[in-house]
Every structure is written in C-alpha cells, then in structure tokens.
Symmetry: C2
Subunit: 197 residues, 2 copies
DNA sequence: ACAGGATCTTGACAGTGTTAAGATCGTGTG
DNA sequence: CACACGATCTTAACACTGTCAAGATCCTGT
C-alpha cells in the first residue's frame, strides 16, 4: 500500500479498478493499458507483470463484473426463496443488474472472442454461478407446478432468453420507455412465467 | 470498375465487402482501416474520402447487415402472413438470422457507442424496419386473440426480448445444445407465444 | 545474509487512426 | 470543345497503442 516505493503494493487490483473507472468515464473505446497504468502512477509495461496481455486484463475485469453479478443474484435468490415470486424476482434481479449498469452488460457479453462463458461446455453441465442459480430456481418452480419433465429444458431456456433479452433491450441506447421501466420488468417477466406456475 | 486506373470506381462498396470478409476470416479485433484499404489495393487514407472515420466505416457495415436482417424478416413475414404460425415463424427467422451468422449479432449489437438503433427515440414511434415488422405481426396476433389492449405492449416487449435473448444465447461461444438447436427454437418460441394466441 | 523470484522501469518496435498537402481523374458548364 | 472544380486517391507525417527485451529494485524464504 505504500505509494512512493518502487513497488506499488496492490497494483493488480488498482489496475482493475482504474480500468473500470476509465471505461465508465470515457467509454470502452478510450481504454488503453498505458492510460490505466498512468492512472495508477506506474509505467507502460508494469501491467505485464500481472496480466499476460491486454486481453488478459479485460478478462480479469469481466471476472470481476461476473462476481458482482453472481452476488447480486444470490442475494435475490435468498431473499425470495420458497416464495411464489421467487422466479419473477430472480429474473428481475438479472435484468436490473444490467439496467442499472449498462456498461456491465456490454463488457460482459460484447467481446465474443474472449468473453467468459455463462453456460459451460464441460460434460458435467456445470454452468456459471449466475446461470446455475437461475436454472435451479426455475427447475424447482416448474417441477412444483407439474410441468412435464421433457418441457422443462425448453422453459428454462425461454426464461433465460427472456431475462437476457430484456437486459440487452433495456441497455440499448435510445430505446424508449413510456412508464417506469423498473416496474414493467416485473410484469413482463410475470406474464411469461405465470402460465407455468 | 476499372482496376488499374487512379480511381478505383467502386471503392465504398469494396471496402464494406472486404471489411466483412476480413472480420469473418480473422475476427473483428483484426479489422483495421489500413488492412481493408490494402485488400482493396488502395492507400492508407483512401477510405477517408468515403467515411468520416473508422466509426463511420463500422456504421456503414452495420447498416449493410441491418438491411440483410430486414430483408430476411420481410421474407418470413410474407411467407407466413395470415397463418396461425406467423408469429412463431417470424420469431424463428429473427433468431436464425443471427444463429447462422453469429458475427452479425456481435457486430450489430456489441458496440453501444455507435450502434444503429433498433427502437427509435423519435416521438412518432417509428421503429427500425425489423422491429416494426415484429411488432406489427405481434399486435395483429394478440388483438385477434382478444388480449386486453393495455397488456399488448408488455407482451410485445416480452416477445421481442425472447427472440433477442435467444439470438444472444445461441450465438454465445461454448453454449451447449443437446438436440438440433434449430428445431428447438420454434418450440421454445411457441411455448411462450401460444398462450397469447 | 543473501540468492532468487516478483515487481517495476526504460527504451524500442511495429501497427494503428488521422490529418495535411498535393496529385489525378471525371464531369458538368461555358 | 475546353477547362475549372469537386471528387477521389497518394504520400508523408503525427501521436498513440500493444508488446517485448533488458535491466533495476525490492521482497521473501532459507
């Protein structure tokens, strides 16, 4: 933590924080390793001691945002667990996380080449935490409602697509919303999920 | 069209085509104005006679892809007009367009700063053609089915979010699909839209 | 105490977007 | 038909970027 010594002390975290700050202020296009390094009072090549290259740095930021996303969904899951609103509220949390931080959505899903996976390709079907939480809640609800087992997969996918699509739409520039958008989100999700419950 | 003269003859179109080709071959990260110019046998600064800057070039590519998207939806709309499958099939066309060209999805929706709008912010509510077609078909179906007028807006948004979300999900890397994904798309859309029809 | 690894700096290179200045071409106007 | 003017293209340069090699500095375990 000493700031005047040769070694920074906490450079990795500082770089990530300053990187996010820079993107929020000037947009992702203005992000450069050199600028972030300068913001941390450190030289050009210093970041290369902590990240393989710029993509590695971006992936670290994505991971950081993904952790925030996970925490946000977990909180909503616990709050409404075993409630009749559990699924709509979880979906709303999914959408609101990005609605309130549009840059998070862009940054998490806009760079296909390096983006971390939401759904996994390993044979054990181990999804990323956010998706796993959503699926878990959905399965529970749909089973309880007596949905035919063979349709549950499609319903889960539909539920995921709905909230992900709402996230995409609500973070688009220049999309118009007549009413309070936040209130409508819950109704929209409910209008889809209710028939299943 | 003469290729050896000082003037290229059709540089603007060539740049766009070569740009798309380059992205498809080497990824969007490898796209540079200089490389595209070279591919067209033209010098560094030549593109600046046709586009204000790189963003202008990217916007032109987006516009080109948007035209393809519009044509694709219009075709599906005409094919299934006044059918009981019109809305699911239109939704499927929406998803399949991007599923079959994942790079189109990225390029159209991944760059918030410059992306052309799907929904418009002008008071006349004039949406972009693809969205307008989808809304038109949805309104017609929902009205015919006797949906309460004040819920139609939410249902349309849900429909849009569903197909847009499916597009996002199916173009993600490393998302696993057990069965033939194309067939499932129709069922997923139907499972949502049927209750309304 | 000190060797070795982690961290950081300096300096350099190739590639990029962009602009200014000027060369070449085509085309409408007299 | 001439020719001036605008559209198109080239050359040359600038600042900025990602990245790496070589070396300086610091920390930590033994």
């Amino acid at each position: 933590m000493k700031s005047r010594s040769y070694h920074h002390g906490d450079l990795r975290h500082s770089l990530i924080e300053m990187g996010i700050e820079l993107i929020e202020q000037e947009g992702e296009g203005a992000l450069s390793l050199r600028k972030v390094a300068a913001k941390c009072g450190v030289s050009n090549a210093a970041p290369y001691a902590h990240f393989k290259n710029k993509d590695g740095f971006l992936i670290a930021i994505q991971q950081h945002i993904m952790d925030l996303f996970t925490a946000s969904l977990e909180k909503a899951f616990e709050e409404y667990e075993d409630t009749d609103r559990s699924l709509p509220m979880l979906g709303k949390a999914y959408v609101m996380f990005f609605y309130q931080n549009p840059f998070y959505y862009d940054f998490l899903f806009s760079r296909k080449n390096i983006s971390i996976k939401l759904s996994s390709d390993d044979p054990n079907n181990r999804d990323t935490p956010p998706l796993a939480i959503l699926k878990k809640a959905a399965i529970s609800i749909f089973r309880k409602a007596g949905s035919p087992e063979k349709m549950i997969q499609d319903k889960i996918t539909a539920m995921w697509a709905l909230v992900h699509g709402l996230s995409a739409i609500t973070t688009m520039p220049n999309v118009e919303y007549d009413d309070s958008w936040e209130l409508r989100i819950e109704e929209i999700i409910r209008s889809i999920s209710i028939p299943y419950v």
